[in-house]
């Protein structure tokens, strides 16, 4: 980015000596060269697959074709078919992702605040807590979700306690419920929420909080008018990093959900692709999911966004 910024200043440089111009040009060329690997990578592994996805989503099944055989076409009805068939799963996915994101924010923000602000100066303690926040990433996503299944199992300790204090009816359960799916999503994406907020709060100038106190603002007012607005870039990054993968996730709903009211759109795409072998349908759903998330993200960033994000 610094190199590009240098390039933007080039009109100023223009009035100076010829040596400086050529060195600025060289620097801008190096800038482009440095961008090249990222550009090629995205072209190969993002742009081309998206085109492929788009093309496949419009394929048709010719009469008499065997399983997995589709012919190129522009069959837009694929989109209306999957949307009319699976709109409840779409809504549910965004609903679950939203609840999980809010929950992760409520849990993650205080965690980040504690480590970044309250423990400032206690480097060792900060380090330990940061490792603990990241520690779940040291084991596989699927194993962690499996572990939750064992913890929340009908014969497990959590259910036993909840039944004993009558928070759950005697035949109540936690696994195979929407509650378990949202818990799984929250837990699995929590570090994505906590770390960006931590990175932001770490740079928070605590003298501003002191200034707020000096001006007789209550701690709550100081938080609302000073800390929170300053940490918004971290919050936005965290919520995006949580919401986007959570909306497309299917491991949590597959392992912790049931077959009635927890199916998320990722599961449907998986089912259409592998089980029904409906590649156009699965592609159409994926494409709609991408567009829907993009749309929501743009809305969100427009509303709350800061220049540091976009």
């Amino acid at each position: 980015m610094a190199l590009l910024a240098g390039e933007r200043k080039s009109p100023v440089i223009h009035q100076r000596g010829a040596d400086e111009i050529s060195s600025a040009k060289r620097r801008s060329r190096i800038g482009y060269l440095l961008i090249l690997p990222g550009f090629i990578f995205l072209l190969l592994f993002f742009v081309l697959p998206v085109f492929s996805l788009l093309a496949t989503s419009l394929y048709t099944k010719p009469p008499g074709a065997d399983i997995g055989q589709f012919a190129p076409a522009l069959q837009f009805s694929n989109y209306t078919d999957v949307l009319s068939g699976y709109w409840p799963e779409f809504l549910r996915s965004f609903g679950f992702a939203l609840v999980a994101t809010v929950a992760a924010l409520l849990i993650g923000y205080p965690m980040a605040y504690l480590v970044a602000v309250r423990l400032r100066g206690h480097a060792l303690l900060q380090g330990i807590l940061l490792v603990l926040i990241i520690a779940p990433f040291f084991t596989s996503f699927i194993l962690r979700t499996q572990a939750w299944k064992q913890i929340l199992a009908d014969e497990g300790p959590v259910v036993a306690v909840l039944r004993a204090v009558s928070l759950l009816p005697p035949d109540g359960r936690l696994t195979a419920t929407a509650f378990a799916v949202v818990c799984g999503l929250t837990y699995n994406f929590l570090p994505f929420m906590t770390l960006p907020i931590y990175a932001n709060l770490e740079r928070l100038d605590t003298r501003l909080i002191e200034a707020g106190n000096d001006l007789y603002a209550s701690p709550a007012t100081t938080f609302r008018t000073v800390t929170l607005p300053l940490s918004m870039p971290g919050v936005i990054a965290g919520t995006l990093l949580t919401f986007i993968p959570a909306a497309g996730d299917y491991i949590n709903s597959a392992l912790l959900g049931n077959n009635q009211d927890t199916t998320m759109i990722g599961q449907v795409i998986d089912s259409l692709f592998f089980r029904v072998v409906d590649y156009p349908g699965a592609s159409a759903l994926s494409f709609v999911l991408m567009l829907a998330i993009l749309f929501l993200v743009i809305l969100y960033v427009r509303r709350f966004g800061t220049k540091e994000i976009l």
Binding site: L48, G68, N259, T262
Partner: protein, 404 residues
């Protein structure tokens, strides 16, 4: 390489099928990026290459003494102390052929999704033997994804059990040989269900509400439900019979009787106790009882259970077909087959293995889950072959019914 149509009518049909498929794919390649990209993703060239198909592959078995075999997990005798597969070691010692054995396959549909683009364009997938269940073998053979076996290299293939010799999807076993077979039936936690279960309908008892799980493998769950309704699943059942059974499934899911519809992971729910009664695969229960203490019992429901087999296929463009055939021959030797069966606890497809088992583990000789008696076999059926359209229709209905 110009090829005139083969004389054998069966082969000719196959070649014709391949040609139409190639046209389809060539069309895909023509549409601009789309076909090209689809091929990019899997490393194939979208079927535009003229050298696709089994005939074009050169067998390098003589010069490359290796065979690559993709199989399911826990499906071959394994020695924990040496961390090796004893029968594979013995095969390599005897034949000089190295085996790259991988447990790559964890579901038929997942594996098909992974390799189908390459196989459709006649590309080598890096495996010389793949092991898939009957209906997937049916699909792959029909799609021309396999090479015809040369039975001259597999003299032991004559040992295949009589009832497996002429299966509907591959009469005469030209493209496939059975690896192991098993049953789908019902299983329950002996402590929680002291009376045991006799029929599929017993799963719907009120006291089991929310503690029942059924398999997400359509043919097994729907096969059992249809048999419960008195349908002969080997015969010509259709949409009506399927829908009737599906209604039962929908109702039990909606009422909360069925907790979840699951693949292999139902085993973990049996262990955790979330599931007390399930539709299960026979070998799983044997292994669970071995690992977790003798807690569960498996039975074929009174109305009947399903019988399925996993089959070894040589994928199109595999350059080590002769080596693959030698390996198949090795495992159709009764002693080797019995050695595997003693470990995996599934039905052994090899005639004579039962006699060989006497010397290996006499206790297993009378185990009906490895060497089923006539009486046992009389009560199990194989789900009939489905056409491509039926397969898509029924899969789609089933997936919708289970909420995905």
């Amino acid at each position: 390489m110009p090829t005139s149509p083969p004389e054998d009518p069966y082969l000719r049909r196959l070649v014709a099928a391949q040609l139409t498929r190639r046209r389809l794919l060539a069309g895909a390649g023509g549409l601009s990026l789309a076909g090209l990209l689809a091929a990019c993703g899997t490393g194939g060239s979208g079927g535009t290459s003229p050298s696709g198909g089994a005939q074009a592959v050169e067998d390098l078995s003589e010069s490359e003494k290796i065979v690559n075999w993709a199989n399911w997990t826990l499906y071959l005798d394994y020695d924990d102390t040496t961390q090796k597969y004893p029968t594979l070691e013995a095969f390599t010692a005897a034949s000089g052929i190295d085996v790259n054995y991988s447990e790559d396959i964890d579901s038929n549909t997942g594996y098909f999704g992974k390799v189908q683009a390459q196989l459709a364009s006649g590309k080598d997938i890096g495996q010389d033997i793949i092991t898939v269940t009957d209906w997937m073998a049916d699909r792959m053979i029909r799609l021309g994804f396999t090479q015809e076996l040369n039975h001259a290299n597999i003299p032991n293939a004559k040992n295949i059990l009589a009832n497996l010799q002429d299966v509907g999807f591959d009469p005469g076993r030209k493209h496939s040989l059975t690896w192991q077979s098993g049953f789908a039936g019902i299983a329950w936690n002996k402590e929680a269900v002291p009376g045991g279960l006799k029929t599929v309908a017993d799963l719907w008892k009120p006291e089991l509400k929310g503690r029942v799980e059924v398999l997400d493998e359509m043919r097994d769950t729907m096969g059992l439900l249809m048999m419960e309704n008195g349908v002969n699943i080997e015969e010509n059942w259709g949409t009506d019979e399927f829908e009737n059974a599906l209604d039962v499934l929908r109702k039990q899911i909606a009422s909360g009787q069925i907790r979840q519809v699951k693949g292999n992971s139902y085993k973990e729910d049996l262990i955790s106790g979330d599931a007390l009664a399930v539709i299960a695969w026979s070998g799983d229960i044997t292994q669970l009882n071995f690992e977790e203490g003798d807690k569960w019992e498996f039975a074929i429901p009174e109305a009947g259970g399903t019988l399925w087999s996993d089959n070894m296929l040589v994928p199109v463009a595999s350059p080590h077909k002769t080596n693959a055939e030698k390996l198949m021959d090795y495992y159709y030797d009764p002693v080797n087959a019995a050695t595997v069966a003693a470990y995996v606890n599934y039905i052994c497809p090899v005639e004579g293995a039962r006699e060989a088992m006497e010397a290996i583990d006499p206790e297993l000789v009378d185990n009906p889950l490895i060497f089923p008696t006539e009486e046992y076999l009389a009560n199990v059926q194989v789900v009939r072959s489905l056409s491509a359209d039926e397969d898509t229709e029924f899969s789609s209905l089933f997936q919708k019914a289970i909420g995905v």
